[in-house]
């Protein structure tokens, strides 16, 4: 998915040592990173991690306490929101209730002083882009949530912003619509070629749509990388825990060899696996994803005995909870054949995992 990105990449947004404090509360510690042109960039984190604050600082609604923000190489620090070539899709959509959809979409263009003909053409194009051309003369309160969402997108995209900011735009929609809108957003980004900066607390959304994800936690960057990087190579326990599901096992670091570590884990085995930030004698955890554990065990992997203590059938997958010598492991098993026999609770099983699938994370 990331292969198509052209190199060298031009920077759309540069965040340099930007921090934000509200009174005594440090919402965001100094962070620095770049967002590239034509990228679907996601700021991901739990609520209160500073992601919305960061977005609002790019839009100009908040001023950074320190640091500076540049848009296409130009410092926009001193520019008010209405002079920044950046548009926002608000969480509540914030459509003007007294204007028709057409007028809503045209609002930005009028303020930019586009001549009437060009404006009308652009509004029609935008409404068509979001499949809302039939509703042009309606008012926002006559629309469903998904339709409002589309108009908010059309309105924000119409003035051809250099960067489009999206503040949890899917959170107000129901599950089914949310999934459909993910695809639409992704398609829209590709079609328009505009840089999207997307804020969400939903890790699945982030993995699904993004070119790159910046995971924020406790007001700082936890990890920045492609969805694959972040899922497969979490840089710390926070990221491993926040993105997807995982099993954490206490690990005692015996020796370190560059980016690998030899550890002993409570299952009574010693293994050598990729590591990050581990120290000999220091506290560390081993993270192993539920789908990377084999049930039943496979040859050549680290194997252990266990008892099934829980089984949840989810259609495509069955989630098992296994008690392995006092360590509780969650295992996700694909039901690859029709009517795969589910394992019974109380059954004794042998399970295994490859050392290469495990990650040792220092804390």
């Amino acid at each position: 998915m990331n292969m198509s990105r052209p190199a060298p990449q031009k920077k759309a947004v540069e965040i340099k040592d930007v921090s934000k404090a509200f009174g005594n509360f440090q919402a965001l510690k100094p962070v620095s990173f770049d967002i590239y042109e034509n990228e679907f960039f996601t700021l991901l984190g739990p609520s209160g991690c500073g992601k919305t604050t960061l977005l609002r600082m790019i839009a100009g609604f908040e001023q950074p306490s320190t640091g500076e923000i540049a848009l296409r190489g130009t410092n926009i620090q001193s520019l008010p929101p209405h002079k920044r070539r950046v548009n926002t899709v608000f969480q509540s959509y914030a459509l003007f209730p007294h204007m028709t959809l057409e007028q809503n979409v045209a609002f930005g263009l009028e303020n930019l002083g586009w001549p009437k003909e060009r404006r009308t053409a652009r509004v029609t194009d935008m409404l068509r882009l979001v499949h809302m051309e039939k509703f042009a003369s309606r008012k926002p309160q006559q629309l469903s949530g998904g339709q409002r969402q589309r108009i908010a997108l059309a309105r924000a995209l119409a003035p051809e912003p250099e960067v489009l900011l999206l503040d949890e735009p899917l959170s107000a929609l129901d599950l089914k619509l949310r999934q459909a809108m993910r695809d639409e957003l992704r398609t829209l980004q590709r079609q328009t070629g505009i840089t999207f900066v997307f804020v969400t607390h939903d890790q699945e959304e982030a993995l699904d749509m993004s070119d790159r994800i910046c995971v924020l936690g406790d007001g700082e960057i936890q990890q920045l990388g492609t969805p694959t990087d972040i899922y497969e190579e979490p840089s710390n326990r926070f990221v491993a825990d926040f993105i997807g599901e995982t099993n954490f096992l206490d690990a005692e670091v015996i020796s370190l060899d560059g980016d690998r570590a030899t550890v002993s884990i409570p299952l009574g085995v010693t293994l050598n696996a990729p590591q990050k930030r581990a120290t000999v004698g220091g506290k560390a955890v081993m993270s192993i994803r539920p789908e990377k554990i084999s049930l039943p065990s496979q040859d050549g992997q680290i194997a252990t005995e266990g008892t099934i203590v829980g089984a949840n059938y989810l259609g495509g997958y069955t989630h098992y909870v296994v008690d392995a010598k006092g360590t509780v492991l969650r295992v996700s098993k694909r039901n690859s054949r029709s009517r795969d026999r589910t394992l019974e609770v109380g059954q004794s099983v042998r399970l295994s995992f490859a050392a290469e699938s495990a990650r040792i994370l220092g804390t």
Binding site: P81, H82, N87, A94, P97, G108, N111, R138
Partner: protein, 299 residues
């Protein structure tokens, strides 16, 4: 289902006290006024129950000795002055209220409560006292005149009191809280995200005010305008105290008919005309608002 069917009868019973109060304090007195307005003026004031439309004719015409009607604009001038002063009051109140209400809405919750309390504070003092205080301020020996004299700017500023301006100041002062409160309420209801959205879409502060804030605060402004305009039409204290009874408004014209002029039927007739004018105005507003709502909700 059963309960829903029974509900209406309870509603009617529950409303009975309110309806009774309305009947005794509003419907019956208005009925009496209508009755009086079609009665003949009594020889010693008061009225006799003899049907006549004379009081209504009297509003526009003088009756000559031989019974011929002669157009007389004197009451019409009072009506015009009343409408103009009321309109001016409404407009000035609107212009002053909006910044005040907006400023209050930007404050922290505690400061907001205090400021709103301060806006309503004058209501705790008698209207007469409040209007009277303007005599002290505007009078020949009043605060303004004395201040100007003390500063040596002018010795004779002419009379500030007993003019249309004095009445206007009094009216604005009296009714401005009725404008600030609904305007404030509508600003409070405004979603701050809409203001941000306007800025985000390249709207300057002025554009945002003109195209987003003001249109969305219109309901509050209309409510405030009605709350100010309607009582202004019937204002009595301001013209009596600040207009000195020299320049009349409909309110003190009516009062005069029931008092010194001893022409109850004419007073009643003017009252009915005033009431009808207000009702037509409000009805027009109501229909307008309903049509607009219908347009917006209909697909």
């Amino acid at each position: 289902m059963n309960q829903r069917l029974r509900l209406p009868s309870w509603n009617v019973l529950g409303l009975l006290p309110a309806q009774l109060i309305m009947l005794l304090t509003l419907i019956i007195p208005v009925g009496i006024i209508i009755l009086v307005s079609f009665s003949t003026r009594g020889p010693y004031g008061g009225f006799d129950y003899v049907f006549t439309t004379a009081p209504y004719k009297q509003i526009l015409f003088n009756e000559g000795w031989s019974g011929e009607l002669e157009f007389n604009p004197q009451y019409l001038i009072v009506v015009a002055r009343t409408v103009i002063l009321s309109l001016a009051t409404t407009i000035i109140c609107l212009a002053l209220s909006f910044p005040v209400a907006y400023f209050i809405s930007l404050q922290k919750t505690s400061a907001k409560m205090l400021l709103i309390y301060l806006v309503t504070l004058p209501f705790w003092v008698s209207m007469i006292v409040r209007v009277y205080s303007w005599i002290i301020i505007l009078g020949n020996d009043g605060v303004i005149a004395k201040a100007l004299r003390a500063l040596g700017i002018t010795n004779n500023i002419g009379s500030l009191l007993f003019t249309d301006t004095a009445m206007l100041i009094g009216l604005v002062y009296s009714y401005i809280p009725l404008m600030i409160l609904p305007v404030f309420a509508s600003i409070e209801k405004l979603d701050p995200a809409l203001v941000e959205a306007s800025h985000d879409l390249y709207g300057s502060r002025l554009t945002t005010l003109r195209r987003v804030i003001l249109p969305l605060c219109r309901p509050g402004m209309v409510a405030g305008a009605i709350l100010v305009f309607v009582p202004c039409l019937g204002a009595v204290l301001e013209p009596v105290l600040l207009g000195g009874g020299k320049t009349m408004m409909m309110g003190n014209l009516i009062q005069l008919q029931f008092g010194a002029a001893r022409n109850w039927p004419l007073g009643a007739a003017i009252s009915i005309v005033l009431m009808c004018a207000v009702m037509i105005f409000l009805l027009w507003r109501g229909i307008h608002a309903m049509r607009k709502e219908g347009r917006e909700n209909g697909a």
